[in-house]
Symmetry: C2
Subunit: 475 residues, 2 copies
């Protein structure tokens, strides 16, 4: 059995290695051709570009996209140009947004027009806001009426809503048909859209009446009526709902495809599991990046300037909060000058506070993402986190106070140190729960910079509590 498509990461590495080698050979050949006296006849040098084109043409579109993402900007463009004529548009669709924006900036208007011409309405929706408006208009005019109308209405839905994620490729049949009639209708189509596990049954106004699974069509005798065999308890969606909620429903109810209805129950589109799976992957990648204080995914090869900008938002927040923490310490410079041991102990209070708070925040973010937070269990969670942090605080407090005593032989200092740690762990628990809940209430992603906000608080409060207690009790 032939198996050109393979799953293993080894295969992907192999693809990449082959492409890199062909590119290197090509650059070497270019150098040879450029060398020598321009007036003399060029030496005949083998050209590896056709080999590269051939290699790429045998790869799956998704694999080509992955290879492009791992190439430096120039080579990426060169490789894209080898597949441009047949699959340029599809590959632009497949690469990550960061990589696409770099490619779009490099290709000529003519190339973009060619690529856009290869995409149908369903694909165009996904990148409509990334291509120049005139070019999109130009392409719109060449689309059939129904596709154009569909594209225009889809573009009106906000990013991340079901309306922006649904497809217009689906099979819908009228409810008065027999299975036999449906089968001959399907045979006339010659091909069903990808991920068709069921067909939709509508009445004459286009209102969804039920669905029939392909397997029902296969396993049932052809003389029955659709209305006898269709399922009517269907998971349906509306275009304004959130895509993430739909992804959770797909997971929960093990769906492959589902109908999208407008508020009068009319069938207007279809959601499929591949789009939902991409969404889950994307959402999860953003969660880690947001948690760490980045705005979004970065192209591995994007310019230094773009990368620096991606990081600046939260770095400036961090800069401000660091100044605040520094001024908190500044308030107590007299105390530190008096007892310099405080300077070496205070980062322990801040650091352990930051880490326990990060643990709490990560758990709260997970719970929020899974939709498991209600009014009754927020209180329960808060109580548990406070008890856990008290427990951890007492144990950690004991250990750190022994550490401080071993170094400085000052029992009062040790007690103040342990007390400050316990208090800062309480602060960490409260803030660790509060920050993501607050971000969620503000309509933001609960992971958005929560680590930066949290450590800002546990740093400042840690210094304040420790140095404050020291000023009160040790001077």
């Amino acid at each position: 059995m032939r198996n050109e498509i393979m799953s293993s990461p080894e295969r992907l590495r192999e693809n990449l290695a082959q492409v890199l080698e062909l590119l290197e050979t090509f650059h070497h050949e270019e150098a040879l051709r450029a060398a020598g006296d321009p007036s003399e006849p060029k030496p005949s040098v083998h050209n590896s570009l056709p080999d590269l084109r051939d290699r790429l043409s045998r790869m799956h579109t998704a694999d080509v996209a992955q290879v492009l993402e791992s190439l430096p900007l120039d080579d990426r463009l060169l490789a894209w140009r080898q597949v441009r004529d047949q699959r340029g548009g599809d590959i632009l669709l497949e690469v990550s947004e960061a990589v696409r924006s770099n490619l779009l900036a490099q290709i000529s208007e003519e190339e973009l027009r060619l690529a856009v011409g290869q995409l149908d309405a369903d694909d165009l929706v996904d990148i409509a806001d990334e291509i120049p408006a005139e070019l999109l208009q130009e392409r719109l005019l060449t689309l059939p009426d129904d596709e154009r109308r569909w594209l225009q209405s889809s573009m009106a839905y906000a990013e991340g809503t079901i309306g922006s994620l649904m497809s217009n490729e689906m099979v819908a049949v009228r409810d008065h048909l027999t299975l036999d009639e449906v089968l001959s209708y399907l045979r006339n189509l010659s091909e069903l859209p990808i991920h068709t596990d069921k067909i939709f049954v509508v009445d004459k106004r286009g209102v969804l009446r039920g669905v029939v699974a392909l397997q029902t069509l296969l396993l049932t005798g052809p003389n029955k009526h659709l209305s006898e065999v269709m399922a009517t308890d269907v998971v349906t969606f509306t275009p304004d709902e959130n895509g993430d909620d739909a992804a959770q429903a797909f997971e929960r109810y093990d769906l492959i495809s589902a109908p999208v209805l407008n508020d009068r129950g009319k069938l207007i589109g279809r959601l499929t599991v591949d789009v939902m799976m991409d969404l889950v992957r994307e959402e999860s990648s953003e969660e880690v990046l947001n948690f760490a204080g980045l705005r979004g995914e970065e192209d591995l090869f994007s310019s230094v300037w773009n990368s620096a900008r991606n990081r600046w938002l939260w770095l400036s927040v961090n800069l401000l909060t660091a100044f605040v923490a520094s001024r908190v310490i500044g308030m107590f410079e007299g105390t530190i000058a008096h007892l310099v041991a405080l300077a070496s102990l205070m980062p322990i209070v801040a650091s352990i506070g930051g880490n326990t708070g990060n643990q709490t925040t990560a758990l709260v973010i997970r719970t929020l993402t899974l939709g498991q937070i209600s009014a009754s269990n927020t209180f329960h969670m808060l109580r548990k986190e406070i008890i856990v942090s008290l427990l951890n605080g007492v144990i950690l407090g004991l250990i750190v106070s022994m550490f401080a005593y071993a170094l400085y032989h000052d029992p009062h200092l040790s007690v103040v140190f342990a007390g400050a740690l316990i208090l800062n762990l309480l602060v960490a628990a409260l803030v660790g729960i509060g920050v993501p809940l607050m971000l969620q209430k503000l309509g933001q992603d609960p992971a958005l910079g929560s680590s930066v906000l949290l450590t800002a608080t546990t740093d400042s409060m840690g210094f304040f509590i420790f140095l404050g207690l020291a000023t009160l009790f040790l001077l």
Copy 2:
């Protein structure tokens, strides 16, 4: 159209609210029944338990599981007991691992036996290592021979491998059949396994020869032979491969199901998209938790003791590294006593280093997860991160040195401060790339505690660089 199953999170909240209300009413009734003189005849109090049972019985299994996850331990057990007789086993399968382990600890052996009896071999594999060995053996004896053999061989595969994730529910037919013969075979089955988008074609030794999509069966005339219509370029997997790699292949090639073959090409199982989607979700949730220094998912209502333990591993690492950072400062106590401003400025160096390093680490983890790291681009990435951190360092260094000058009017201090910040950002870039790459090389999840390890280094090195430079140049 009836729509009992709904997607919206509002509906889930509604489910939970109704269950909570019924539970509260029930507890109230219990209190009434318990009140009064035990010798007197009991007052007749309505019993809400049947209402609760009725409400739960109308909910989808996945929704019941979600409600259970949001209930405190006692109520969770009470609710599970209402659905135990029909769906106890399915619901145990559906809840998160943390919640399942709490439920398993609470239910009686008899209840567990009942629940286990409701599961078939395919489901048993998923929880085989969580139920007592004797009970599993007892259940094994009641399974048909082929299911028992399949279960035993599946249990031998390591967790997370494809072998442990594959199912034995699939349709395989011999390669000499006509489509007509296949159709009558399918009609005899009366039902196909969930997520059957294609059937597998095997030769007489069970070796996979190709696959036929259900839509091909539907759309093609019945007189053709399987060998004429089957596809032979199939994405296949082997049982020892990593499940995460399979999930990426499912995403990349938009698969619904795929065959699993042993090393002789024999069909031994099937992977389906629902399992892959769960894997992606699970992996992503672990990524954030691991990044923040937690061992794994926590039951919202697990005991304080279990929660504290989940956090201790990385907290103790953090404790040790905080001690190291503290001793680094301790080495320079003389310097600080001489110039106390250093104490208030040094956390800025540490904090900004930690944040930029976390950004780098999060990006590297993403790139590793997507399999985009090769020998050639590791170097490229390292070079870019160093340039970005130099750029950020110069800008941030300028700002912080102005801040320091405004406070302390000491130009030498300001220069040392800016220099220390630039150097610590370089350390952050190197360590931010190095930590996840090292964890990956060690065969660990690259996210595992990387935030803890990273901030440990940027703290200690930040203090060391700043106080060291200050000792050299300012005293």
